[in-house]
Structures are given as structure tokens and as C-alpha cells.
């Protein structure tokens, strides 16, 4: 099972929904149209999962870095928002 190491040292399990929601909120904050936002979420999550395939323990910073990198390819404005947001909830 994949471990995610949080900044406070706590270990949690990977939550796809949480990542997808954060990306979606970033796209909405960047005023990206709904279907494009959905496509951006799918693409970012797919890229993240490909990167996670051979990992056992990563940090929340890793998740943020990889998702930002993937988002930059499709929605660079949303990528900036995602990268810098403390919490998008």
C-alpha cells in the first residue's frame, strides 16, 4: 500500500479523490471551462498514477510537485494556483 508522508510526519494513505478535487478547484479558480477542467484533472491524475506506479512511500510535496508538473502541460494558470495554494477547500 502506498504511504504518503505528511509535513507533520504523519503517514496517511493515498486519496485519489482529494487530489482530483484539489486540481479541479485550481482549475475553477483559474476560471477554466468545465469540460477542459475535467480533462485537466484526468490528465494530471493519470500522470501522477504513472509516476506512483513504482513508489512505496512519497511525501505530500512529491504529490504536489508531480501534479503541478502535469498540470503545467495542459493548464499552466491552474498549475500556478495549485502549486501555491495552502488549502483549496
Amino acid at each position: 500500500m502506498l504511504h504518503i508522508l505528511k509535513n507533520n510526519g504523519e503517514i496517511v494513505s493515498y486519496q485519489l479523490k482529494r487530489v482530483a478535487r484539489s486540481v479541479l478547484l485550481s482549475c475553477q479558480a483559474a476560471e477554466i471551462e468545465s469540460s477542459e477542467a475535467t480533462a485537466a484533472v484526468k490528465s494530471a491524475v493519470r500522470a501522477l498514477h504513472e509516476w506512483l506506479r513504482d513508489k512505496e512511500e512519497v511525501t505530500t510535496s512529491d504529490i504536489r510537485f508531480q501534479v503541478t508538473k502535469a498540470l503545467k502541460e495542459t493548464q499552466p494558470q491552474a498549475a500556478v494556483i495549485y502549486e501555491n495554494a495552502r488549502s483549496l477547500e
Binding site: H3, L5, N7, W51, D54, K55, E56, E57, V58, T59, S61, D62, F65, E83, N84, R86
Partner: protein, 463 residues
Amino acid sequence: MRKKHKKPKVFDFDLLIIGSGPGGGVAAHLAANANKKVGLIEQGDPGGANAFYGTIPTRALLDAANQLWQLKTIGKYGIRSSTQSYNFRAVQLWKQKAMYATGVLEESDVFSHDKITLIKGRAHFVSPWTISVGMKRYSAKKIIIASGSVPVIPAIPGLNEAGFLTVKEASNLEKPPRSIFIIGGGKIAYEYSQIFSAFDSRVHIAEPSGSLIHHADEEVNDGAVWALEGKGIRVHLETQIMSVAMHGGRKIISLVKNDRMHRIVVEQILIAGEEHPALDMGLENCGISYGPKGIRVNGFLQTNKKHIYAIGSVIGKHSEPHAASAEARLAIHNIYAKKPIKYPFDVSPTIYYGTPEIAVVGKNEQTLRQISKKYQVGIAPIELIGSARTNDYSGGFVKLLTSKEGVIEGAAIISSHASENISELSLSVNSKIQAKALTAIPHPYSSESSAIQIAAAQITSAD
């Protein structure tokens, strides 16, 4: 927003090393012998990629291939040989024997030192001092990254579906393919084309640039191509692979050369060409600076995080195991000695094994022109040397490049024993020796090294 990590007060190890190849392995032993507690992390087989399908196994196969080539032409010595057959399984056993002698096949022996803890698994930084391996975390005061490099699989339509070999699979084939297409030039192409050609494979090499031997002068490239074509290997330069398809169990490569489309049908494809540094290990979590070419280090092999060093092909300056080992020695010195020493990156030779061997060191003409440095050239063909008469090999040369003042800046050798003779020139480049010094030193008569003296004399006589 990067988290600021707290440096631990207590560490699991004095030194953690990522990668157990020629860089990491040497560093581990040196540190352990200096009584440091070392954690050596290895994702694959201990000894690293080089031990299992790098220099030793490749040279074992090349040496066997060379014996077969010699047998095919042995009649010129007045020696008769009725047998030119081979048993490829036995050739592979020969290779295993060579690997066994290095100790890498006995996992328990390779790093059996009471100060070294071998940690199997994939390394991932979770902080500047802590690395996670298989969900366990290990911390160290100092870290060396020696993770090596990985082959780049070109994005050619149909390639993945058709299937291909990398050097890992190619070195372990049970029998040689009837035909093989090597994608990309460079060291793997030069060496493996000769192996397969000796064992009766029909071999093609395709390289998109105009040079089979990268970062070398035109004569070196021409010499390499000439040597391979003399063995029936077809070399296609300035050639783009457009697609790969499968048909009837065979692979069909479509390529463009000289603006014309061609199709070549083969049994196997080998990916040679570029390798990229293995960087996917959470470097962002420790703030290490890196780029597509590798981890950035200063002249002391230190990254921007002063307690973390990087050596070997992961720093993107070379891919030679001997350079990785030399860097390992220097990194350990720099970590633990009072006075650090700078690593002379320029003086590590690049070697292409085979028949002939190719060795290059220092600057080439293109580099010297790029920095607008005036230079002199001395070239001595091997055919001038006595041994060219006795062993019938006369195809190579020694080429020296010096500054206007005669200081050795770079060199290239194509000859049967280029790898044995290049060290003299590496030393010359490092120590800024002048050509006249090489002229003054007697080199054994009829040895290939006497070509170095002749090439140097060309430069001094022009002064």
C-alpha cells in the same frame, strides 16, 4: 512552498549511498575502511547495472567475438584451422565465469564488510537527511548519490508493440539473432554490433546525427564506421526511424535516409543511443538542484546541499565506470579530509571496446574552435608502427591536439589497445604536459604507444 526540514540530532548512518555500481560500490568500501557506518541502497542487483551488463560482461562477449574474428583470418599467419564454429551457450558461460570472478554473482560477498549495510529497494528522499526505502526510513550525516543512468527509449510509433532489447537483455541472449537493428550510435552500438556480427548476425545501426561516435572528431567517427563496415555491419548515419511494425514474427523498420524511405526486416531491435541520469528519487524533497542532464555539482562533487554529493553518470558529464570510481575516491576524500580536491572532469577518457578500440580524452577540435582557442594537430597512423607489420592491423591512428604552446589539450586513439595507451594522454591533459615531453620519453619500439611519440614529434617539429 517547500517545507523547512529539521536536521536530525541522531543519524542511522555516517554515510548513505544510493547505488552500488562502480561509483557507489567503491565509495562504500572506502568509507567502511575508514571506519564509517555505511548504508548502501541498491534497487537492483548489488554491484549495479555495470556489473551485470556493463563493462565486464560486455568485454567478455567482445573478447569471445574477437577470438572468432581472429580464427576467421588466422590463415594469414600460416596457421590452419578447420573449425570456425561456436556454441553460444558456452560463450554465455564464459561471460558468467568472468562475472563470477568479480564477485558480483555472490550477493553475500560483494559488500560483506561489517561496516556496510546493504539496503535493498528503491531510494526516495523524504528530507535532506532521510531516505525512504520500502517504507523504512534511514538518515545519514552525509549522502552520496550514485544512481547511474537509464536508457532512453525513443518515441517511435510501433516500437513498444514490436518489442525491443536494451543492453540488459542483449547481453543475456541465449542465442544470437539472425538479424538485429541497433537504434542509436555510441558505445553500446559500437560494441554490441561487433559481438553480434562475429556470431553471424546481420547487423544494422541507425543514428540520426552524422556521428556514430559522439563528441569526437571526424577522423574518429570515420575510423569507427570504417572498422564496423569492414565486418559487414551496415551503418546508417543521418537516418531517422519513422516507425516499426510486426509481420510474421519479424520486425519491419521504416526509415528515412538521404530523403529516401527504406524498409529493413530484422529479428531483433536493440536500443542503444542516449541514456538519461536516474533522477527520480524525490530530489525535490531535499532541494537538490538538477536539470535534464543530471544533478548539478561543483568541482568538489558537492551538490547545492553541502552534505550531499553526487558521482557517476547521474551528474551527466560522462558514463564511464572508471570515472565513477575515480569520482567515488575523490568524493570520500572531500567528505572526510580537511582539504577538498577538485575533480578534473576533462581528463576522464571515454573508451569504446572492440576491434579496434577507440579512446578519447580531453577536448576535441570542435570544442577548441567553440572556445576560439588556437591549436595544433599531430596525427600518427598506426601503419607506421612495427606492430602493424607483425599483427597485420594498420587501420588506426593516434591524434593529439595541443595549444599553440604545445600543451596537450585532447587526444584520440583508434588501435587494438587504445584503452591501454590513453592513460598517458589523460595524465598529459591533467598535468598540462607539453608535446615535447612526450617526444623525449622513449616509447617501446613497435608498440602502439610509440605512435603517441610520433604524433607528439609532429607537433614539436612544427614549432
